[in-house]
Symmetry: C2
Subunit: 139 residues, 2 copies
């Protein structure tokens, strides 16, 4: 469990820089999804904004994290499960956004059900976001 971030970087042939390691560690120690702003806060602005943007983009490109669609014009990112590869995400699980604590949680065990699309539509990726009250806030 020590230095799992380094393993991940090595596995993807990414150079081990402070920012990549730091941001990846943050994801590994966070349960839910993170927005760019969260990352800036939680890393105490140790890295330049631009570096954070580029690092996130790199991680998405390499299939280390994935994006979660939102309706408030921010982008959320969360760790991919182990079987994601560069250029091809398999993050077919449901995301849950809590209306109280506003955290976004990956429900890794809840897979997105298949839907039947109208004739001619060819799906390649599905995202499902459920809003509601999470298990922590339900009381």
């Amino acid at each position: 469990m020590i230095a799992k971030s380094l393993d991940l970087l090595k596995k993807n042939n990414l150079s081990k820089t402070e920012s990549r390691k730091g941001i990846l560690d943050l994801f590994l120690h966070t349960n839910g999804a993170l927005a760019h702003a969260d990352i800036e806060k939680k890393t105490a602005a140790a890295f330049d904004r631009v570096t954070v943007y580029r690092t996130l983009q790199t991680f998405v490109d390499y299939g280390i994290i994935h994006q979660i669609p939102t309706t408030d014009n921010t982008i959320l990112y969360a760790l991919c499960k182990d079987d994601c590869e560069a250029g091809h995400h398999h993050d077919e699980h449901v995301h849950f956004v809590c209306n109280k604590c506003e955290n976004t949680i990956c429900l890794d065990d809840v897979i997105v059900p298949k839907v039947k699309l109208p004739k001619g539509f060819q799906p390649s990726q599905v995202a499902m976001v459920v809003r509601g009250v999470c298990v922590v806030c339900k009381n």
Copy 2:
């Protein structure tokens, strides 16, 4: 079919202004979803940016249009079906984003399937976005 936008405005007790009518007409004549930038372009900047933002917000509040979550930090809007009301959307249909033409289409007839969440999670709203190739671009 003439002046359906006026009907819609009247039904919601909204004053009939040029911008509301114009923007609503645009939605009525567009098949897919629209982003703020699309609206500015297609109305030839006839209305102020601020007016467009406020008009969209008003339409969302009154249940005339709904927002579609995206992963590119924009907000998409699309017409609601008839049974939406102020403050309460029933737009539980699937949205399709085409990777080729980049249009977003409401699949009004494909309703979002129910999923079983882990114990303690209480859902209130579900969004589902499918990416792929649409019926127009499939060839």
